[in-house]
């Protein structure tokens, strides 16, 4: 077989049984790989209403057909499960682990059940086994990886693991690999913890075979040219890019979408204090890349002086800086880096962690919670309090035990009006750029199948593309205007399919539509895919597969109870205008309720879903060759309604 290895490893932890299953041609042709095959497996294996921490929940790891090959940015993987925060748990990470999964001989891992005492799964040279991990269970993610490498006498094994947060079932705990690579959003790490699975170790000799090597190399050279053009035009070269922190910090500030003070503002007067060039000049050592990636957007750093002298690591990403900087009004760079380092070691999602802390700060300011409740004052910008709270969350101690439940559940536990200030969509904390970002952005984040998210349905057309490019790629120049509602469903759906395609192939979105207008597009990907796998598919075929995957996800969340009300931004978006900042791009900055209602209905219709609740129709599902999904969905709906 070319591209894929053709094998799924199924692990039943309750019975401590491991078996190899063939990755069927049907799955490969229809869902391609990565997130696509992951979600189909999840839909098939997990009964609706299954609790996230129930042993019956499935934890699925997936690489793609291009993972472990020369295809640029192809070293990614998805981790998928029923989410402890909401409906669909699904997160994507880079690094080197996924390539070694392929070299170990497997495309996907499906883990069910729960083992009595903690174990790790080792897949070295194609030989899978479960090994006692009690001596690793309480360790952080860095300690875990070091200890495993020492124990095996091999510094080159790759490890995906959980830290204390996953072990303690913090609802936004993640799966980590390396110093900072993270699949954490939606809390898939706590599902791993609930199964008493500490780590998955991979290393192998089995190469990935390429069907037509010459065409493959030729197609990839096109990518290279496009990438070189992008580097020139956007002013960076491999190894000298500023990473997401450098690219996005001011882009968000200037477009009035830098999430600030628990989303109470979208501009921050202290943004200059966390200027990325301070980080790059003072602390950055070198830029590094994920497996097979020429962009190399991840910095390695070391702090030499001050209270955190000796602190080193990788990152931070832009989101980490926003989460522990603008969101909590902390203008001290060193403590932002320390906070990010703690989330890396404990194995937490930096977004949700920063969000719940900023939520608690808002409640503290409003006197809904007091120093007595928390154990110490929690004022905006208090860096010691922030670091302390991260530790309490990871260990589920004191007030951290409440915040570890996520913003929505924490609000319910706290009571006293706290629920009025919790900001989540489908149970997931709001993405940093959410507020004031405009009509299309609101629709994208609110309908994203895993909850508020910029990686599924949104692309900053409304902030980055000018009207000419907007017309070229989305068919109408108003796509770039954030105050306009009509036709926004078109660009949201375009982004959904392109983002899904990137996740199915497991290629970095930096090469996908995020690189617009320098993107090779679905057609370019199709060339690479066809040359690698020997399966001829056009760009249109791949986008159709992406539509198929998106419909499976929609069917999954509908089956779990999602309805129209779950596709709305928080109430605040309709009623509380953002304060003006130095660059107000959206006057008033609230979403028009009526216009949003209409837009949402148009979105459902454009998808071919029912216009009341966006339930995929039988017709649409059958058109997409998803008769089995239609059947299952029908069964659940008949029983519920």
């Amino acid at each position: 077989m070319f591209g894929w290895q053709g094998k799924i490893l199924k692990v039943d932890l309750s019975r401590e049984k491991i078996e190899t299953i063939t990755l069927s041609e049907r799955l490969r042709r229809n869902f391609i790989g990565g997130r696509g095959i992951n979600v189909k497996i999840l839909f098939d294996e997990v009964k609706p209403g299954t609790e996230a921490f129930d042993p019956a929940n499935c934890l699925v790891f997936g690489s793609g057909p291009l993972t472990g090959t020369l295809a640029p940015g192809s070293g990614r993987f998805n981790v998928t499960a029923k989410s402890p925060l909401g409906f669909l748990g699904d997160s994507n990470a880079g690094g080197h682990w996924a390539a070694q999964l392929k070299y170990s001989g497997f495309d996907h891992l499906v883990i069910v059940g729960k083992v009595e005492k903690p174990v790790y799964l080792s897949i070295i040279n194609g030989k899978p086994e479960l090994v006692d991990a009690q001596d690793l269970w309480g360790l952080d993610t860095w300690q875990t990886q070091r200890k495993i490498r020492k124990k095996l006498g091999d510094s080159q094994v790759d490890v995906a693991c959980i830290g204390q947060a996953g072990k303690n079932l913090v609802r936004f705990a993640g799966v980590r690999t390396g110093l900072k690579r993270s699949a954490a959003r939606t809390g898939v790490g706590s599902v791993m913890g609930s199964k008493n699975l500490k780590a998955i170790i991979v290393k192998g000799n089995e190469g990935v075979r390429i069907a037509h090597p010459e065409n493959f190399i030729k197609a990839i050279k096109k990518y290279k040219e496009m990438f070189e053009l992008m580097s020139l035009q956007r002013g960076f070269k491999a190894g000298d890019s500023a990473g997401t922190y450098g690219f996005l910090w001011y882009e968000h500030q200037k477009n009035s979408k830098l999430g600030t003070k628990h989303h109470l503002a979208a501009n921050w007067e202290d943004a200059d204090k966390l200027d990325p060039s301070i980080y790059h000049n003072r602390y950055r050592i070198k830029m590094l890349g994920c497996f097979s990636c020429p962009v190399q957007c991840m910095p390695r750093y070391r702090i030499k002086e001050g209270p955190y002298a000796g602190l080193y690591g990788e990152g931070p990403e832009f989101e980490s800086v926003a989460s522990f900087g603008s969101m909590v009004l902390n203008s001290d760079l060193d403590s932002v880096l320390k906070a990010a380092e703690l989330t890396n070691k404990y194995g937490l999602d930096c977004d949700s962690t920063g969000r719940v802390i900023s939520f608690a700060m808002e409640l503290f300011e409003r006197k809904i919670i007091t120093e007595h409740d928390i154990g110490f004052p929690l004022k905006w910008g208090d860096r010691e309090a922030i670091l302390r709270m991260i530790e309490l969350i990871a260990k589920r101690e004191g007030f951290g035990d409440i915040l570890a439940e996520g913003e929505l559940r924490a609000a319910k536990k706290i009571g006293g009006g706290a629920e009025n200030y919790a900001l989540t969509i489908k149970g997931l904390e709001l993405h940093e750029s959410f507020r004031g970002s405009g009509a299309g952005h609101a629709l994208a984040h609110s309908t994203s199948t895993r909850g508020s998210d910029h990686l599924r349905s949104s692309h900053h057309a409304e902030h980055v593309l000018g009207p000419e490019d907007a017309e070229k790629f989305y068919g109408y120049k108003e796509a770039a205007d954030r105050t306009i509602y009509t036709h926004k469903e078109k660009q949201v759906i375009y982004n959904e399919y392109n983002a899904a395609l990137a996740d199915m192939l497991e290629v970095c979105k930096f090469f996908g539509h995020w690189a617009l207008p320098f993107c090779i597009g679905a057609d370019g990907f199709a060339e690479v895919f066809s040359a690698a796998t020997g399966i001829e598919m056009s760009g249109e075929d791949l986008l159709r597969a992406a539509e198929r995957v998106y419909n499976v996800e929609r069917a999954f969340i509908i089956r779990e109870g999602a309805r129209r009300k779950d596709d709305y931004p928080p109430e605040r978006e309709f009623t509380d205008p953002l304060p003006p900042g130095p660059w107000p791009r959206m006057p008033g900055s609230i979403i028009d309720r009526e216009k949003y209602d209409e837009l949402l209905t148009e979105y459902y219709k454009a998808h071919g879903w029912d216009k009341k609740d966006g339930i995929p129709t039988r017709e649409k599902l059958e058109e997409l060759n998803l008769n089995d999904v239609a059947q299952e969905l029908g069964k659940t709906l008949m029983n519920k309604i």
């Binding site: 472990g68 090959t69 020369l70 080197h96 390539a99 070299y103 860095w142 070091r146 510094s155 080159q156 110093l179 000799n205 089995e206 190469g207 990935v208 075979r209 390429i210 090597p213 493959f216 190399i217 491999a238 190894g239 070198k286 830029m287 590094l288 890349g289 994920c290 497996f291 097979s292 990636c293 020429p294 190399q296 390695r300 080193y312």
Partner: protein, 157 residues
């Protein structure tokens, strides 16, 4: 005069693209294990490992079959597969851990500079690998680079 390969590990971004292109064009599949250039990664350091074309060949000196020679044109180290018996003595002997192994064919794999147009050099996005004419400066660079590689290898493994 034959050109030399110069490695600067400080520029290496640990992206493994060199492994991908080498194994693909030389062995027909994408597989780091079958690449003649390898990336070794530590927690906070990394280096490429590739034949340094030593003046005195450790690999050739342990080869019982006399299978390792230098190419007349490129001065690259070349393994004669007709003579190689797959004993792996050269793999153990190389101080740069730069000899790989094709387990199916039971043959040692040593960088042969792609016959004079090394592909890893072309594909490295960072310019961590260079293929230079021999000058005093380039030789100095090569030796400095090789020393860094050697030092990093011993810290990481």
């Amino acid at each position: 005069m034959a050109k030399i390969i110069v490695v600067d590990p400080e520029k290496c971004g640990a992206c493994n693209i060199c492994e991908m292109i080498c194994s693909l064009i030389k062995e027909g599949e994408c597989n780091p294990v079958k690449s003649r250039i390898r990336i070794i990664r530590g927690e906070i350091m990394e280096t490429p490992l590739v034949c340094q074309q030593c003046e005195v060949l450790f690999c050739a000196s342990v080869c019982q079959e006399d299978a390792i020679k230098r190419d007349e044109t490129t001065n690259a180290v070349v393994v004669d597969w007709g003579l190689c018996n797959g004993c792996k003595a050269c793999i153990k002997a190389c101080p740069f851990q730069a000899v790989s192994y094709n387990a199916e064919r039971k043959k040692a794999l040593i960088c042969d500079l792609c016959g004079g147009a090394p592909q890893c050099v072309d594909w490295c996005p960072r310019g961590a690998l260079e293929y230079l004419d021999v000058t005093e400066s380039s030789r100095g660079k090569k030796i400095a680079g090789a020393e860094k590689v050697f030092s990093l290898l011993n810290k990481i493994r």
